[in-house]
Symmetry: C2
Subunit: 278 residues, 2 copies
């Protein structure tokens, strides 16, 4: 049975992503771990076959720790991506009228993402912080008042609670992209992308330009680019680049090989199927 | 007297950045506001002369909301940047031995950034979430036990509390870049950078390459680049680019003018002095 580690605790969006991919929970043995580093290291260590972690949220931005650990401290590869919409729910022990709710608990990101709902429908409510949306949902189990939590549908199910109002997020465009990591490069699917990190020895005018020329000359499309400061002694600047195509496509392979001559180092983060909404 | 709005509440890192720039608090009239949008809109509305908000943390990544509001929903310009090191402090009502501390309160980002300290020096302690480090520090005022908070030096001063241990962060490289926004383009200082957003009509192979060619041909250095999905109907992709030089430098001006012919639209986010550690 496939062993899959993922960023815990139980009942968070990472778990929602896990079971939106593995629809039959009995097919896999899943284990929530405490940190992103723990998940990535479970692959390096051979403790799990796949690891699932967030890499990018459309509102909050890149999860730098995921990119940095994959770049600087691990040999784990991205084997698959999955993007899920972030839908927040107002959760209570049972259904209550909104007027009765005086306190709402959640992670500060979640409360920030439901600001309009809180202002319009729960005006003046006290907002209490939690370390995760799952922790928030779990907390109301112990309370005897009508405190509500903002959290996932699966957390409400996990703790046998009621959804008082669903889809309370301000933005319908709020999405998180997660990656599965493993220790291999998957075979071509026909619709793939390749994630690489380019280390540049000096941030000279035109250095990024030379990198992109290798791809432009070969008609390879870029889907993402992000500059990041390099860590000490490993070049001065790094660029995280996603390109369309699989490493085993001739033009992608050749583009990357040419690139190697122009940069200090390239690290391959993975070559994997592009996520498509089903 | 200059009116400056900033991301509140009082006692956070934004306030620390404010007073590390304006060393004499009596020179300015400062007002903490609830959200980044409120600060930016205080400039558009003419309620403040300058606004101060975070734009990027070296560990947590870009503050997308800041970039997005400046790009899509405001005419405020970046007039100045400031980068401060993020130093976390363990704060209590009075000095107590670490062994006596059973609970620690802070924002989830702060507790994540002090994980080693918590594991090694406060093993097994209960970690309680707060909506900001300032809220965490304020909360311990009301408690009668030895609960500690993780927060800023200025929050400890603000509430008359003691710093039990300073610099408890895992990474000495943790920094946040803040920007001051206003409604003008400052004059050249001689060491400037210019932040622009390029809107591309379609994510075609080589389109970014053409943008960078304009800068490479003119020997203009790029210091940051980040791709972001565009919002509906305003092009399909945007690139946030920082280049060295001031808009009023002939080669920068000409580079941007040439660029305008190759892209759907350019939005100028500002042209301002490069931050230097003093």
């Amino acid at each position: 049975m496939k062993k899959i580690s993922y960023l815990g605790p139980r009942g968070t969006f990472t778990e929602e992503a896990l079971f939106s991919f593995y629809k039959n929970a009995k097919e896999i043995k899943s284990e929530p771990l405490g940190t992103i580093v723990d998940v990535i290291k479970s692959i390096d260590r051979g403790d799990a076959d796949e690891g699932l972690i967030p890499i990018e949220n459309s509102l909050e931005g890149s999860v730098n720790i995921t990119q940095d650990i994959l770049t600087f401290e691990s040999e784990a590869k991205i084997i698959r991506e999955i993007t899920i919409p972030i839908r927040h729910n107002l959760i209570g022990k049972k259904y209550v009228d909104l007027k009765k709710i005086k306190k709402v608990i959640s992670h500060p990101h979640a409360t920030a993402q439901c600001r309009s709902f809180l202002n319009n429908k729960l005006h003046g409510v006290e907002v209490i912080a939690a370390n995760s949306t799952a922790e928030a949902v779990k907390k109301i189990l112990d309370l005897n008042d009508d405190t509500a939590a903002i959290g996932t549908k699966i957390a409400a199910e996990l703790y046998g609670l009621s959804i008082i109002e669903k889809d309370i997020e301000d933005s319908r465009d709020n999405k998180t992209r997660f990656i599965f990591v493993g220790n291999y490069i998957p075979q071509k699917s026909g619709q793939d992308k390749t994630s690489i990190v380019c280390f540049l020895k000096k941030d000279k005018p035109g250095s990024l330009y030379k990198i992109l020329k290798e791809f432009a000359d070969r008609n390879i499309n870029l889907t993402k680019i992000e500059s990041r400061p390099a860590r000490k002694n490993i070049g001065d600047y790094v660029f995280m680049i996603d390109i369309e195509g699989h490493l085993h496509d001739k033009k992608v392979f050749e583009g990357i090989e040419s690139l190697r001559r122009n940069v200090y180092m390239i690290k391959m983060l993975g070559s994997y199927p592009i996520w498509k909404e089903s």
